[in-house]
Amino acid sequence: MPQVKIIAKNFMDMVAALPALKLDKLYDNTFICEAVLRSLPPLAKKYVLQLLYIDEPVTAKSMEDWVLTDGVSKHRVAIDRLIQLRVFLEITDRKKETSYRLNPKFQGNLQHYIAHGGVLPRESMSSSITVRLPTAEELDSYALEQWESFLLQLISSSQPEKTTSFSSSMMKIFQQGLLSLRDKEAPKLTESGFQFLLMDTNAQLWYIIREYIINSEVRGVDSADLISFLLELSFHVTGQAYNASTLNEIQRSAINDLAELGLIKLQQGRKDNWFIPTKLATNLSVSLSDSSSRKQGFVVVETNFRLYAYSTSKLHCEILRLFARVEYQLPNLIVGAITKESLYTAFENGITSEQIISFLQQNAHPRVCDRAAPSVPENVTDQIRLWESDLNRVEVTPANFYDEFPSKDVFEGACDYARDNGGLLWEDSKRMRLVVKAEIHTLMRDYLHRQK
């Protein structure tokens, strides 16, 4: 099974990868400090808070005393992450003892936050200027609609329903890796494309945003500027209107693209333009592990392999079609069945059984979740796994074949040696032949040379 995984970890990995100079510049912005702090592992957050009002460097040894023996590995992860993001600065003194202190800029910004509380990046507009703002539900459905139409366009560029502001070259960049674009051939989803569709919205969003930022340099935009704007955006209040004239040139060009993705909604008044962040935007700085943004599930799987999806979305239908046979579609219901054939096409396309099962489990209908029984019947999950393993009956192991041993003793010695090294695959003592894993071939050769 080819294992193609799309890495869509999070924003902070990207921030951490920035050069030190740029990173230090980013920490001038309070919101970035805040977002970086919130992205840290719990233990690391705690350390930052603990050291916030300590101006002296603290030795690594004394910090180790803070944790119990169970937490040593977590402690290391936390410290590594803090150094990686340049939140902690490492100082080695003459006695070669390491000590850490907080990045002074970062420290200053957070101290200000602690004393003065959180402030919003910009003032929201008063309701007298803005006409009618969308309600929270309207905004959510708008965001979802935009995002889904973007996804639909992404996966089936042949049948565009709605043109987006993304230039076709930008769209091509997004599609890279997800679709195989060959001339004179209809674009086909690649394995990673399928996996992309099965990810949850936040992870998909990350993937797109990541591509968007990486390619920003090509468009002549500094990636650090874009990152700081996106992070800042996540601190705006959902559903409030913000005047677009407060934005600079780069940001103004970015908001059009972001509106396409459903991150913000643009509205126009008599005099001013304003933008309204949606839930997608405010969740940007949330780490992926948080399931807060998870949508309501919609799939019911029965023990007879039938599948009912209470959804009006075309995208859901497309996703289900990846691994199930859709039988009929009602206005708010998609009925299908998981069959051997439909699964085989899915496996051929590089989707794994685990991905399908986790998709079904994550999107299980709330009524199903509330029951004590597993959200997807066990016989179905087992069968999906069995059908997958049916395809993988033959396992290929690179190996070397040895024969024509001079004597029985040498042969048996070689067998024992191979067994001790955990590489013996097959032996035939009558004809003195032996198959050994390729990894220990050099060891075997050395051993046999020594025997001579």
Binding site: P42, K45, L49, L52, D65, L68, I114, G117, S289, D290
Partner: protein, 348 residues
């Protein structure tokens, strides 16, 4: 200790059992030296909670005027100074995670009330009016002032005499109710915990109510942290933290209160299993008697409903059982031990 005759009112026994079982639990701990460890709260988190370190911190703020303003000058920190530390602490909790939620409950002398809730939209959206004070601060201080005035009006009728304790039982119950409301409403909710910032001494008359609150916190797996800013240790809160698996701390120096709060009490429940936190030095397990509400070392206990009395009575005032005369040779030690184990099992 008198051994009391059992009455045969079984129905009543079942009813009062739940309510008063803790007395027996305590009684066993003290008199039969049965030591059972604190209940670990971290064992299994309900599935409807956020996986990570998202916390709901219920802060119970002691606003007892007799403690802060009275002759109690031994405390080194003034109320405004104390508030500065607490507000910084609230800010830091909100800073750690955008899903974190803070609720502040004022514990007054006569009443208690919610004074701040970070989840309500008004506390976040309203930008500060005068520009000098952050929104969180001004909103909360305004509510606090209103609360103190209301609290004062209530106390005009009866002037205090003896111990002037604050209404801890009331605010603990408010906090637990709030947590119940949160955990029953949404699909996902933060990990709740309670932090008591207590200065006033314990009120023995609240013993039953406080213990009930503690045990219901234990049931709903809510740890109660306590930070004592007063002079004396609080037996109530020592027990509360011990039973619910929270942290009890009496900072030796109050001018660095924020550092204590941020180092110890800002730790989310997830990280607590990895960090060195203050361990309880000793817990005062003494109970209050039901008849005179005074703290006692030794007392009489009703064998039917487990009510505690400081003097021998003819009849239990709680369940009405009639007691017989003391008979010192009725029970054998082995019998007692067996019963202990059974009760512990039944309790857990």
């Amino acid at each position: 200790m008198s051994v009391l005759k059992k009455s045969k009112k079984n129905n009543k026994r079942i009813i009062v059992w739940k309510l008063l079982s803790y007395c027996f639990f305590k009684y066993l701990r003290e008199h039969l030296s049965v030591i059972s460890g604190p209940v670990t709260v971290m064992d299994s988190a309900p599935s409807k909670q956020y996986s990570d370190d998202v916390s709901l911190v219920m802060v119970l703020l002691d606003t007892n005027p007799f403690f802060w303003g009275g002759e109690n000058t031994t405390t080194k920190v003034s109320f405004s100074n104390f508030l500065n530390h607490v507000i910084s602490f609230l800010n830091s909790v909100l800073l750690l995670n955008q899903l974190n939620q803070v609720v502040v409950i004022a514990t007054g002398y006569n009443s208690c009330d919610y004074i701040f809730d970070s989840s309500t939209s008004e506390s976040l959206n309203v930008s500060s009016g005068n520009g000098k004070m952050p929104a969180l601060c001004s909103k909360m201080l305004q509510k606090l002032e209103e609360f103190v005035i209301r609290d004062e009006q209530l106390s005009k009728e009866n002037s205090p005499s003896g111990i002037v304790s604050s209404l801890l039982s009331g605010s603990l119950s408010l906090a637990l109710c709030y947590i119940q409301k949160v955990s029953r409403s949404g699909r996902l909710h933060p990990n709740p915990r309670i932090l008591c910032l207590q200065g006033s001494p314990d009120g023995p008359e609240q013993y039953v109510a406080v213990m009930n609150a503690i045990f219901s916190a234990q049931r709903s797996m809510v740890p109660i942290d306590s930070c004592i800013v007063g002079v004396q240790h609080s037996a109530f809160l020592q027990q509360a933290s011990y039973i619910t698996g929270g942290v009890y701390l009496k900072p030796p120096q109050l001018d660095g209160l924020f550092q204590y709060l941020s180092t110890v009490f800002a730790t989310d429940l997830h990280s607590r299993s990895f960090l060195q936190l203050p361990k309880p030095v000793g817990v005062d397990f003494r109970a209050s008697c039901f008849c005179h509400k005074s703290t006692i070392d030794m007392g009489y206990i009703c064998s039917v409903c487990l009510s505690i009395f400081c003097k021998q009575h003819k009849k239990c005032s709680t369940c009405g059982s009639v007691f017989g005369q003391a008979n010192p040779e009725v029970k054998l030690p082995t019998d007692r031990k067996r019963k202990t184990i059974d009760l512990n099992a039944a309790y857990n």
